[in-house]
Symmetry: C2
Subunit: 376 residues, 2 copies
């Protein structure tokens, strides 16, 4: 079994001249140098962008692999956390790229989680109007979701991922072994995004996640490997069908409309992205039931799964008006409609463009009612 | 004659699903509203981005045209000048877009010169990962060159246009009548970019520009109209052949490698972009002659034309080392080569990737030698 885990899995994201491979292999971190040579030809300069948490753990391995393959490596080390995914950090990356004088054909490598990957990708899309970039995701969340698909962005104080680009990496290089150093809370947050794939398009995978939750949380190699493969396969399929989110790709945003609002309302400091998405998914599940789209019990099933994963389950208490504002409802614009992803059932999500603000207000209020008094 | 000038000219920039029209028509500014309806369907919200110089002159006309066509208009007014084409102004546009809550299908309109157009285009490419934008250029430079082709960017303190995107507008809406309020120096700077098209691919147009220079400087409607058409036709042809500058589009950068260095060395405060390009073109012409690519007399012909246009002719005095540094020559990287656009003759430019730094040093020094003593 251990040997079979060493087998690499490769998925091709087929997008014409923007196609690339997702390479998943335990221990592959130290093989990035040769892979980059194969991908880009003659080695030249490159820059690894990481953060203060990940760099001490994995920079040396990646750097040495690249240098041995002939690359001249610069580094840019950012602060760690969603709150730093902003225009200031973006400026910092640009300063580093200018100082390193990277030319138009020289790549940047994102070594880190979703924040590092999103910012690096956006910076790569802008620097000299676009240079190659490679995703080396080091969190569960980035390995199962955010490193694939080319959605890059930074946050605006008033909205998550509001400044960004669709810009595909040239390679996604996933080493599940790096997850071993991951904080337990980060693992749980990443698993929330994995569960998402079950909820939107694969009921069997949802069941499998429930059955294998403890092994996943313990980072059992076989279970983690299967989880990553399955999610990457789903992500690749969705992205190939709708690269720039004109339609079905929006289903991947299950839990995100509410989740992004939670992140913005708490100034990106209280919840990890995956935690906020889990909370948002609970809201979406309840709304799906309340509006009669999903059968009774759907919310409970989702809640139970997130509880198994050790994710937060308490919806933060903000006024409905704050929620609506954070989600972009615009009172001045009567026609304003927010897009929600809702469930018909586990494994079957859909886009709902016609949910009135009233229904959202009721939904929020349903969490704020005091518990029914218990007769004693 | 006056009537025939009212005829609109439309060039189609054919780039698949990124195709758009360049509409050139005297007085068309007040017709933008209906045009936007035709282009985007049902009016909704839009934002006009302009600067403190242009807005007092033309905002009311454009705004009223849009409002009469049913649009709900916001404004974002920036400081005027190349020195403000930076990350701060970009952040200011993002704040305004967030405040106006523009959605993914609602357009921004760039009302101004090259700086406004470049920044607005870049902001449009990033906000929510891309919203539609329309160019309404109000300077000669923007009407003959920068508003067409989708090169958008802001400057980095260490390099011009280093942060940007290839992002095509949905429409370029050119009203030559707005040039009447333009500062004379701005007219001359724009004419430098017009002359560029003659130098790189149309010797007859170069001659025509020389013959009609005084009329062009006086903004004679017929001459200005022909100049704009001709340049837009050239620009459209080049962009259709090479949208993202993999090859021949680079020819449009004649004078720009040196010109951008001049702008950066003088902190974007001393020269208008077109003036810096004119100086850069003089350097390119002399280099072309010195290296034996172009016949003797080429530099003189270019100089004479720029003199007619009233453009600055004195190459600013900086050390050769500063020039090389500003142009991105990297001493740590032995293989570093800068791309220059040089001339075989008037009307025939080519890309030179193999100019050694020595030749550039000699070129720069050739301007710094004291004049030969005159025997008295």
């Amino acid at each position: 079994m251990a040997d079979s885990l060493k087998t690499s899995h490769i998925y091709r994201v087929d997008l014409g001249n923007r196609s690339y491979d997702i390479h998943i292999e335990p221990g592959c971190l130290k093989g990035l140098g040769p892979a980059l040579n194969q991908l880009l030809g003659k080695p030249a300069r490159c820059m690894i962008i990481s953060n203060v948490t990940v760099a001490p753990l994995y920079m040396a391995t990646v750097r040495s692999s690249l240098e041995q393959a002939g690359w001249q490596v610069s580094e840019c080390i950012l602060a760690d956390g969603e709150r730093y995914k902003n225009l200031d950090s973006f400026g910092q990356i640009m300063d580093a790229l200018m100082q390193a004088r990277l030319s138009r054909n020289e790549p940047v490598i994102a070594l880190g989680g979703g924040v590092v990957g999103d910012m690096t990708g956006f910076a790569a899309s802008c620097y000299r109007r676009g240079i190659p970039f490679v995703q080396v995701p080091t969190t569960v969340l980035a390995q199962v979701d955010s490193s694939v698909g080319g959605k890059t962005a930074i946050n605006h104080p008033h909205g998550k991922n509001m400044i960004g680009a669709f810009y595909q990496p040239k390679l996604v290089w996933i080493d599940p072994e790096v997850l071993r150093t991951l904080d337990c809370r980060e693992v749980r947050a990443g698993i929330a995004e994995a569960i998402k794939y079950g909820l939107i398009r694969d009921a069997a995978f949802f069941t499998w996640m429930q059955e294998n939750m403890q092994a996943a949380l313990a980072l059992d190699p076989a279970v983690i490997s299967t989880m990553i493969h399955t999610c990457c396969r789903h992500k690749a399929e969705v992205v190939m069908g709708d690269e720039t989110e004109q339609g079905a790709r929006a289903l991947l945003n299950l839990g995100h409309t509410f989740g992004h609002a939670i992140e913005a309302m708490t100034h990106y400091t209280e919840y990890l992205h995956g935690e906020a998405v889990a909370l948002g998914t609970l809201l979406a599940a309840r709304l799906s039931e309340q509006a009669g789209f999903a059968p009774q019990g759907t919310e409970t099933a989702v809640t139970d799964c997130f509880r198994q994963a050790g994710l937060p389950l308490a919806i933060p208490a903000f006024d409905a008006a704050m929620w609506l504002d954070a989600m972009g409802h615009d009172k001045k614009n009567i026609g304003s409609r927010i897009r929600y992803i809702l469930l018909h059932e586990i494994g079957n999500a859909f886009i709902a463009d016609d949910i009135p603000a009233d229904a959202i207000e009721q939904l929020i209020q349903s969490y704020q009612r005091p518990a029914e008094p218990v007769h004693t």
